[in-house]
């Protein structure tokens, strides 16, 4: 048998037309501390709730200790949950809250031989004394020995949190699920509890599955981080790898600070961005393939312009003290860069920049042009989502076509009414000299848009495209051609068909 305690196999969860989790697969090893990390609405809580049994996957399987538990109701699963807002029973004392699970439990109590001569397993409930002993031990574990008789509403947030943890671990679950358990605590308390939880994980030796949107928390506590976005798993790796080798621009942007720039891979080990050619350690890209380059601020070394190592020069825009370093904002050509340095630099001064080849993280672009399979709506008119766009093309109405629009040819308008169609801003990532936004139309097509402005996630906007910027090609209709969307190679671009389906995430 494998050493995986939980295997999630191709799990999809759909609410109405939206996918909260899309084709997620994940193995969790016995005793591991696994963190599901992502912004709210990314599907992490839904995934956890499917493991707990509160949600049933729309498709896919969940395997627990080699056994398919996809259809097992929550009260029969050997996992326990620590909820976000504790979910303590307000009508019960601390003691009875913790004893609740024990009182429900039946434990093996010898066997007997029935009339047919078969051996039958007998069960009994825990005795009062056993329950008391276990509850007292759990209370001791969370440092609340004298609080058993108290009502839960009289406790502070941190104490309630401890009761919630004690209530879960007293049942000796094989897996403890924690849904943003520290979200409601203040910063200092959170730091303390992080350490305590890590300690508890070590002492109990059981598997922890932890959900958070706090990347620092995830990096500190986990053995393994699962980064999610829009219901799709982006990367599964150790904290170090997630930080140093993010799988894509989203992960890089979400974990820690980073400079993300558009560039071109000239050939193996040679990349060009910010009008400069850099050495790098990556290979295997196509010649002149457009790529994203990710540079962590601490990897951007500031030198004197005359220093021999200097690769490109930049102007200092600002330098702000951040406690243990200065955050220096620089302008190199058209690109804004952020560097962390131990010393400060005068605003307006010119500095040299150096990046080790090893510190340049190069990533395939998830998409290089917006491509939509659609139909002509009439002479010089093409359907995109539920709007008719003017275009310079005279195919007949109804003709199947492929429409291509460059990222910077899509115009976003502040007022939804000003656009031909309406859409919702899904994300906005700064790429040095512009923002790359993803805006989702009402029929779930994601437009990639390069703009000068930072658009607020969740805002409704309008979309306009100039007629001459719409490239229309006639499309061969094959049988398995999906009418709405062309297949896009990279998985990040697949992140299309769900929005904020998950409310609690």
């Amino acid at each position: 048998m494998s050493d995986n305690i939980i295997e999630i196999r191709n799990v999809t969860k759909t609410y109405g037309a939206k996918d909260a989790v899309k084709n997620a697969s994940l193995n969790i090893k016995r005793g591991e501390f696994v963190t599901l990390l992502g912004p709210s609405g990314c599907g992490k809580t839904t995934t956890l709730r499917m493991i707990a049994g509160f949600e049933m996957p729309t498709s896919g399987q969940i395997i627990f200790d080699g056994e398919d538990i996809t259809d097992t109701p929550p009260h029969l699963r050997r996992v326990n949950t620590v909820f976000q807002k504790y979910a303590l029973f307000p009508h019960l004392s601390v003691f009875n809250n913790i004893a609740f699970g024990l009182k429900m439990k039946l434990i093996p109590n010898g066997t007997k031989v029935n009339r047919k001569g078969e051996e039958v397993q007998l069960f009994r409930k825990y005795t009062k004394a056993e329950i008391k002993a276990k509850v007292d031990a759990a209370l001791k574990m969370v440092d609340l020995e004298d609080y058993g008789h108290r009502g839960v509403s009289s406790l502070s947030g941190g104490q309630q949190q401890r009761v919630a943890i004690a209530r879960a671990i007293v049942n000796e679950p094989e897996v403890l699920l924690l849904d943003e358990p520290l979200g409601a605590l203040d910063l200092k308390m959170r730091k303390d509890m992080q350490l305590e939880l890590m300690d508890m994980h070590k002492r109990l030796g059981i598997t922890f599955v932890y959900v958070t949107h706090d990347q620092e928390e995830a990096l500190t506590m986990s053995d393994k981080i699962v980064v999610m976005r829009d219901g799709v798993i982006q990367q599964i790796a150790t904290p170090e790898t997630v930080y140093d080798e993010p799988a894509n621009a989203f992960v890089a942007d979400f974990i820690g600070e980073s400079n993300i720039l558009s560039g071109v891979m000239l050939e193996d080990f040679k990349v060009e961005f910010a009008d400069t050619v850099f050495e790098c350690v990556d290979k295997g890209f196509k010649k002149n393939e457009p790529i994203d380059v990710i540079i962590r601020p601490e990897d951007l070394k500031i030198k004197k312009p005359s220093d021999p190592k200097t690769i490109l020069t930049a102007t200092v825009l600002s330098s702000v003290f951040k406690g243990d370093h200065y955050q220096v904002t620089l302008m190199a050509g058209e690109n804004e860069l952020i560097a962390h340095d131990t010393s400060t630099y005068e605003k307006g001064s010119t500095v040299g920049l150096y990046i080790k080849p090893f510190d340049l993280h190069i990533m395939h672009k998830s998409r290089i042009i917006n491509e939509i399979d659609t139909e002509m709506a009439g002479e010089g008119l093409v359907w995109i989502s539920d709007g008719k766009f003017e275009c310079n093309c005279d195919f007949e109405a109804g003709a199947p076509v492929k429409v291509k629009v460059d990222f910077d040819d899509v115009i976003i308008t502040d007022d939804e009414e000003d656009g031909v169609i309406g859409a919702t801003v899904v994300s906005s990532i700064y790429k040095g000299s512009y923002y790359q936004c993803i805006v989702r139309t009402d029929d779930y097509y994601d437009f990639f848009v390069d703009t000068d402005d930072d658009w607020l996630k969740g805002d409704r906007v309008g979309i306009n495209i100039a007629p001459e910027k719409i490239i229309v090609e006639r499309r061969e209709v094959s049988e398995n051609d999906a009418p709405e969307e062309a297949p896009v190679p990279d998985q990040t671009a697949e992140a299309t068909e769900n929005d904020d389906a998950e409310v609690k995430g």
Binding site: T12, N23, T58
Partner: protein, 273 residues
């Protein structure tokens, strides 16, 4: 992906399903004893005494002068009562909402509502007789106001006291004098309370029966009395038409309340007799 979703669509959570079943007895009960009776009113409106279809009931009601006069009278009494309740109740609620102990004090104004309205009406009637006030329109309106004033105060107080003080302070800070503050912030913010207060007084006033009879010695009949009379006389057809008219008033006023963004405790107000 859609194909997969359909193919593997799993049964929903079982306990959810069983919980939903809990409401079925109630749904059945409501269907039987609330929805069907109302439908029967509708049906009866089109039946004559031999249970044959007819439109005569409509003709009877809308050409019968006395019925129409009663309706007009009821509306008049309703409007006057509502206006007086608003004039008395608004300043009262406003003053109470400004007082720190308002939440407790308002209780004393709505307390009489818990005593059966017949008892209070008979008590006032006894007093009117004792001090030789002639029973008539004046006493009927007094009785109505006396009975329904709490229905005005309750929603008004709820909305007025829930207005965030900082709006008022902001208006003062921006240089508004006290009357401007009132007109430009308090009044507009309490519109929903005013509207629910108005409907909560108006509808019971025109539909109640007994109050006007008792306080006018049977001289003044309002719409509620009239509906009851018709049914007592076995005139189900006309009675049903009149009930439908009443129902129309109820639905329109409820629609208005909903539109105005009902926030305050409608249920609290109507629950009190």
């Amino acid at each position: 992906m859609t194909a997969a979703a359909i193919a593997v669509s799993k049964p929903k959570r079982k306990f959810k399903l069983t919980k939903r079943v809990f409401s079925y007895p109630y749904v059945l009960f409501m269907l039987l004893f609330v929805v069907i009776p109302l439908v029967m009113i509708l049906v009866n409106a089109f039946l004559d005494s031999d249970n044959t279809l007819t439109l005569d009931n409509f003709a009877d009601f809308f050409t019968d002068k006395s019925s129409l006069i009663i309706l007009a009278n009821s509306l008049l009494v309703g409007v006057i009562t509502t206006a007086i309740c608003l004039i008395i109740g608004y300043p009262l609620s406003y003053i109470l909402s400004k007082m720190p102990s308002g939440r407790v004090l308002v209780l004393f104004y709505v307390l009489p509502m818990w005593v059966n309205f017949l008892i209070r009406t008979l008590a006032t009637k006894a007093i009117f007789i004792a001090i030789d006030v002639p029973l008539g329109m004046g006493t009927v309106i007094f009785g109505m106001v006396y009975n329904y004033l709490p229905f005005m105060i309750l929603p008004l107080h709820t909305t007025l006291s829930s207005i965030d003080r900082s709006y008022i302070e902001a208006a003062q800070d921006l240089g508004a004098d006290s009357s401007t503050v009132f007109l430009k912030t308090v009044l507009p913010l309490s519109v929903s309370g005013i509207i629910s207060g108005i409907t909560m007084v108006f509808i019971p006033t025109i539909s109640t029966f007994a109050i006007s009879q008792l306080l006018s010695n049977g001289k003044i009949f309002l719409f509620g009395d009239s509906i009851q009379m018709k049914f007592e006389q076995g005139l189900y057809g006309v009675g049903s038409i009149m009930s439908l008219v009443m129902l129309a008033f109820v639905l329109v006023s409820n629609f208005i309340i909903n539109r105005a963004g009902r926030k305050s405790g409608l249920s609290v107000g109507r629950s009190l007799w």
